[in-house]
């Protein structure tokens, strides 16, 4: 945008004739704002991942390894043999189009290849050519095409324009899950040394240091101390946060976004205040200091390597069970992958709330409880005292984060909590919440700056629904239970619906939490005067 276009470009950009070509003939254009920067080869190398090399999306030559076609073929075959999901999804799509207008990127951009069905066809066309007899014989007539470097570029462009939110999978009559397709597409690219830095760097940091941005343990402690200072200022209570404490009952793991980025930090303060108030015997770990798992956005192997730390640390510290903070994709990994990949967790006990005595049977094998389940149970048993009027200046709506909604079904717990910690709560229209929730547009490793325009487009359906309740009920607070949401939604709101802030559920909990021995609170966690205490 910054460069002035030449008259020729100007003329070509004003083009009202729709593309007549077949989709296979249209190449993606790598324009700023629509793609993420490539992974630094040093990081790829240090992780021991295949084919690290310099390349750039805008270059003609991506410097693919010499036998790249063979690598693609072998990886594809291997994944077909390993994942029934992939094999079945490659075969059974009838192209009914039910998914076509369900993707937030399609709704926002109108790019036909952002229709989930076509995103999958990008892979399917190669599958037909390489793995089915009909495709081999019929070629394009049978929906097959030859694997060329342009196909690889197209895969990169569109598989990194999918947030793996699974909204399309909900509407597919056969349950075809584009997240699964995207994951396989990214795995194949990963084998060629093609990935994005916003995913690779967090993986590297998380693996070697313990969290996404590579905060070393002493800095982590420093940051936690700052938050305790802030809490003391607000409540008059000094909180101690146990780190790497052996023999604690509970290990608490949360996404690092909660302690390094605003407004996640307020949610983090909320956890600490809650734990202090109920006297929970817990510890955090500076080795497994990351709940999020960007490996999910790169390859199975990367995901497993990062996730293994949580159980390993739980074992070393000798805790009884694990409590997890508010996060989206983290909970996809924990709920659907962790036990299978790195279990069995037979060294842990079935989670039991030490405060209420509730046994969490739904987590009896994985032994990890979502903090919203934990807090909802506390509230149900009257174990904490709440003053929702402290949140009276907030008119709240709730964004169901994709993964907890469509890969878990955590829908009522956050709502139950919200209803007890604030007095003004309004739902967005029903086709945009719960299992039908719209993505923030920044998931699956795409919440980077260079992808900003695409994020704003993809987030438009979500923002639009917020705007509706903002205009109708004066909603000024959007709650969510995901660290990526907390990082991405403020930007989205700022652009589309100024005047709406973003908060984690536990920020509101902590605002309302009446703590034993606290001084009269003048401000909320953000240091703003509480309602009635202004001026």
């Amino acid at each position: 945008m910054s460069k002035l276009p030449k008259p020729k470009d100007l003329a070509s950009s004003i083009n009202y004739t729709p593309p007549r070509e077949h989709w296979m003939d249209i190449k993606p254009e790598f324009r700023p704002g629509t793609y993420s920067y490539p992974a630094k080869p040093q990081l790829v190398e240090k992780m021991g991942f295949p084919n690290p090399h310099e390349w750039s999306p805008t270059d003609e030559d991506w410097h693919l390894p010499e036998n790249w076609q063979e690598i693609v073929y072998n990886t594809f075959r291997d994944r077909l043999e390993k994942y029934r999901s992939l094999k079945v999804f490659m075969d059974i799509c009838v192209r009914c189009g039910a998914c076509a207008d369900k993707c937030h990127y399609f709704i926002g951009s109108g790019d036909p290849k952002n229709m989930p069905v076509l995103r999958a066809e990008l892979l399917r066309s190669i599958y037909r050519k390489d793995f089915t007899t009909f495709g081999k014989i019929l070629g394009r007539f049978g929906g097959a095409r030859k694997l060329t470097e342009d196909v690889i570029k197209e895969w990169f462009y569109y598989f990194y324009q999918c947030t793996e939110c699974r909204r399309c999978s909900l509407f597919c009559p056969y349950g075809i899950d584009t997240a699964e397709i995207t994951m396989m597409g990214r795995e194949i690219l990963h084998e060629l040394g093609i990935s994005i830095n916003w995913v690779m760097e967090p993986i590297y940091n998380c693996f070697h240091v313990g969290n996404h941005i590579g905060i070393p343990p002493h800095t982590f402690k420093d940051i936690v101390d700052f938050m305790c200072d802030d809490i003391e200022e607000i409540t008059g209570i000094r909180i101690e946060v146990p780190l790497n404490k052996k023999g604690a009952e509970v290990l608490f793991v949360t996404p690092s976004g909660d302690y390094f980025a605003d407004p996640g930090t307020y949610t983090f303060m909320g956890y600490l205040m809650l734990f202090h108030e109920i006297g929970l015997d817990y510890t955090m770990s500076t080795y497994a200091a990351e709940g999020g798992n960007f490996g999910l956005f790169n390859s199975f192997e990367a995901m497993k390597r990062l996730n293994a730390k949580i159980y390993a640390e739980a074992k070393r510290l000798g805790v009884k069970w694990i409590l997890g903070g508010e996060c989206g994709h983290m909970w996809r990994v924990i709920h659907q992958y962790m036990d299978t990949m790195n279990g069995p967790a037979d060294f842990l006990e079935v989670p039991r709330s030490p405060i209420t005595g509730t046994v969490f049977h739904n987590a009896k094998s994985t032994k990890m409880v979502h903090i919203c389940e934990f807090t909802a149970d506390l509230i149900k048993h009257g174990a904490i005292k709440l003053d929702p009027s402290r949140n009276d200046d907030l008119i709240v709506t709730h964004h169901d984060s994709c993964n907890p909604s469509r890969a878990m079904g955590l829908l009522e717990e956050p709502r139950y909590i919200l209803k007890h910690v604030c007095n003004h709560f309004y739902e967005m229209p029903e086709q945009t919440i719960r299992e039908q929730t719209f993505c923030c547009g920044s998931g699956a490793g795409l919440n980077n700056d260079e992808f900003m325009e695409m994020r704003m487009r993809g987030g438009l359906p979500r923002a639009n629904a917020v705007k509706y309740v903002h205009d109708k009920y004066g909603v000024n607070t959007l709650t969510c239970i995901c660290a990526i949401d907390r990082a991405a939604l403020p930007t989205l709101m700022d652009y589309w619906v100024p005047g709406v802030r973003v908060a984690g559920i536990h920020e509101l909990v902590a605002n309302a939490l009446v703590m034993k021995g606290e001084k009269e609170r003048e401000t909320n966690l953000r240091g703003e005067p509480l309602p009635g205490k202004e001026g």
């Binding site: 029934r84 079945v88 059974i92 799509c93 049978g142 509407f171 056969y174 829908l411 299992e435």
Partner: protein
């Protein structure tokens, strides 16, 4: 273009049957050999495809959850859209297979705000209706044909036949399903052609089955109402096939062979095409698994060990700063 190619192929197939069975008089080929071959291809192909799918394991339990999970006792679980038990999964699959539950979601109420908010229904519900009508009609017609394959004809088929012709219009009575299936096929075809999104994604393989089934339906209707066909002879031939004592009655017209030939093509084509969604839906991991992930460990048969960064390695690197910050360490 895709549609035109597919239409040409189907017309060519009709022509093959007309020339072969009509002109060439190859009744044994079109009445016996091809149906047998097609049936064997269908059966073997279907089984092969399902076994081939089943050979790949399901490494992770990845249901798409469409409602409240089972968690705390006092929170009401949505047992059908987010099942946590085998019975729940069966319920979900029944809804999915018999009532196209996921497609039905498309029919949600919609809010219009032009000139004040008002509720309306989106066009998307038509897809669900079209699909349901088509599949059920196809199924009923298939069952109705049971009267050609059984002797004596079971009561339930007779009953179904009566029910289908309950309107009692014309002689012979008109079947309701025949009209409905023509309508549904037309709808499914037109939406592919008229909606540019769908036109863009449609392959010849999407039009071909539509035309093929349409041709089968048309030849069927022609036989029943317009071109007299010797039903007794038809049943003779079919019973011959069923009892493995094939015989070829001489009184059957070309139209019968065209019908049978197209059905044979459909059978032989079925296992190698998208029509296998009929089998695939049962194996779809986002639908046929219970969301009991944290209750019961799912086993991945190819789970392999990966390179880890152990706590010991990590502590070696950060021991000094850990100690300085007062965080406990394993080795002093």
């Amino acid at each position: 273009m895709s549609a035109v190619y597919s239409l040409i192929i189907v017309l060519a197939l009709v022509l093959v049957a007309v020339v072969g069975a009509g002109g060439g008089g190859l009744h044994a080929l079109f009445g016996v050999v091809i149906p047998y071959v097609a049936f064997v291809v269908f059966l073997a192909g279907f089984i092969y495809r399902v076994i081939n799918w089943a050979k790949s394991p399901v490494p992770f339990r990845i249901p798409t959850t469409a409602g409240q999970q089972e968690s705390l006792k006092w929170i009401k679980q949505n047992k059908l859209d987010n099942p946590s038990t085998t019975w729940g999964v069966i319920g979900r699959m029944v809804l999915e297979i018999l009532f196209f539950r996921s497609l039905f979601r498309n029919t949600k109420m919609q809010l219009k705000v032009n000139g004040g908010p008002s509720l309306s229904y989106g066009s998307s519900k038509f897809l669900w209706v079209g699909a349901i009508v088509f599949h059920y009609c196809f199924f009923i017609i298939l069952l109705r044909h049971g009267r050609f394959f059984t002797d004596p004809v079971p009561g339930c088929i007779e009953w179904l036949d009566k029910l289908d012709s309950i309107l009692q219009i014309g002689v012979p009575n008109i079947y309701i399903t025949e009209f409905l299936i023509v309508g549904a096929l037309l709808y499914l075809f037109l939406r592919r052609v008229c909606d540019s999104k769908l036109r863009y994604i449609s392959l010849p393989a999407d039009y071909f089955p539509l035309f093929l089934i349409m041709a089968i339906v048309i030849t069927g209707i022609l036989m029943r109402y317009f071109i007299r066909t010797d039903i007794v002879a038809a049943k003779d031939l079919i019973m011959g096939l069923v009892t493995l004592h094939p015989k070829v009655p001489e009184t059957l017209g070309t139209i019968f062979y065209v019908h049978v030939f197209l059905v044979s093509i459909l059978m032989a084509y079925f296992p190698w095409s998208k029509l296998m969604h009929a089998g695939g839906i049962f194996l779809s991991p986002t639908r046929n698994l219970a969301n009991n992930n944290r209750m019961k460990r799912h086993i991945n048969p190819w789970n392999y060990p990966v390179k880890l960064h152990t706590y010991e390695e990590w502590e070696d690197e950060f021991r000094d700063v850990l100690k300085e910050a007062g965080i406990p360490v394993e080795k002093e």
